[in-house]
């Protein structure tokens, strides 16, 4: 027997070279050893196949029954069972996206089952974050882009880089570890996780279910930014916000200081007007200045800034000290209470008058009405 099967095997193996075949997978089974066993069939024939772990472990997922694939394989004969079969070296799904797509759909379904894709989970981003962590490669374009946008828009923020490899073997584990570290950063407001553009294979770590779950477990709001506009990764689905690029993530993370400066300008004007009304000084000039400032501000941010400084100078002129310099005085009793009404001055009472350069003691005349 043994001689027969051995000679048959030698005949088969010498009769074929490595070849490509196409068919549909059925009876797929992955053993604990990591080896895959399945049958490849088409309308007219079928053949048993084995794909050893050393050949399948770098694949992004396992095929499902019914999947149509190309196999690069070497025909052989399995002596123990006297069975003709293919030893598969390479497996390429014919469907677009192929195995990755299958794997991605499975992971997505698992995340959905656990409620991690629920829109109600999405948290709002903080308006003015003070400390942002970024999980990405320390040498990558993503980090450079994020630093550049933050510097332009809101440089008073603190950026904590939690370095990790973002592609290649072990990237998934490293990203998960980095995300776990993020949870231990004190006083953290926000996390950006991602990387710049690359091939589908380069971006794959961000499609890992494990990484997606680690993103979902971050205790502060998260922004996921993977690759270019058109790339959508699994982490994008679980993060609170999906940004099309790392630069866009930085834009979403912080306000723009130019527009905040505009808000402050408006507040300064209202403050000035409220006080002039309150003081009833009827100082039309200040109001007119403020109006002119308003139109100047619309035209030019830089000029607006200078104008505001002038305005603040004017506001300063209205502070109590400056008011005193204009000839007003404040009357206070010995306890320091401001005396506002005639009734606050009992006849003969001592009080203090504060003028621009100091205090004078005073007394209400006894016979005064």
């Amino acid at each position: 027997m043994r001689d027969v099967t051995r000679r048959a095997r030698q005949l088969v193996e010498s009769g074929f070279t490595l070849l490509w075949v196409r068919g549909e997978i059925t009876g797929f089974k992955s053993y604990r050893s990591g080896h895959w066993y399945f049958t490849l069939r088409d309308a007219e024939a079928q053949v048993r196949c084995v794909m050893w772990r050393s050949d399948n472990e770098h694949l992004r997922g396992s095929p499902e029954d019914g999947a149509e694939v190309f196999l690069e394989a070497r025909p052989t004969l399995w002596e123990e069972k006297g069975e003709f079969r293919l030893t598969v070296r390479r497996l390429v799904p014919t469907a677009a996206g192929g195995l990755w797509q299958i794997q991605l759909e499975r992971a997505k379904a698992a995340l959905a089952r656990d409620g991690l894709l629920d829109p109600a989970r999405k948290r709002p981003l903080p308006t003015f974050p003070r400390r942002i962590a970024v999980v990405t490669s320390v040498d990558g374009a993503a980090l450079r882009d994020i630093i550049s946008v933050l510097t332009r828009r809101w440089p008073s923020v603190e950026l904590w880089v939690v370095p990790t490899r973002v592609q290649g073997d072990g990237a998934e584990t490293e990203i998960c570890a980095a995300l776990e570290r993020v949870n231990r950063v004190p006083d953290l407001d926000l996390v950006i996780v991602g990387r710049g553009g690359g091939s589908a294979e380069d971006l794959w770590a961000f499609n890992s279910e494990r990484v997606a779950r680690a993103v979902a477990a971050v205790r502060v709001p998260t922004i996921s930014a993977v690759g270019h506009e058109t790339d959508i990764a699994l982490t994008d689905l679980v993060a609170d916000v999906r940004a099309p690029t790392p630069s866009a993530a930085a834009e979403a993370a912080v306000p723009d200081r130019v527009s905040v400066a505009g808000t402050l300008d408006g507040t300064a004007l209202r403050l000035a007007r409220a006080l002039t009304t309150r003081l009833d000084v009827g100082d039309e000039r200040l109001a007119r200045t403020a109006d002119r400032l308003t139109s100047a501000m619309v035209r030019d941010v830089e000029r607006r800034r200078n104008a505001l400084e002038r305005l603040v100078g004017k506001l300063d002129a209205l502070s109590p000290i400056k008011v005193l310099a204009r000839g007003f005085a404040v009357a206070r009793d010995d306890a320091g209470r401001v005396l506002r009404r005639v009734a606050d001055f009992p006849p003969g009472a001592d009080f203090r008058l504060t003028v621009s350069d100091g205090d004078v003691r005073a007394r209400r005349l006894a016979g005064d009405a």
Binding site: E158, V260, A261, T267, R270, L275, L279, P320
Partner: protein
Amino acid sequence: MSKKKKSFREELERLETIVRTLEEEDIELDEALQLFEEGVRRLKDARALLEESDLTVKRVLEAADGTLRAKNLDR
């Protein structure tokens, strides 16, 4: 860790309260002046924050005992 005691958001909220109080409420003159001075001070602080131009970038390192350290990142 953060050196600013109040968040920017709290600063803005306080400013808004000050302006509204001055605009809408009938308050004593010296209280109005005090609020105004506080408003000017906070505006200056807020603007100073906007003028900051150096982004702080730190690199997080984990020690063998699992504690995190943040070191300035060389750029």
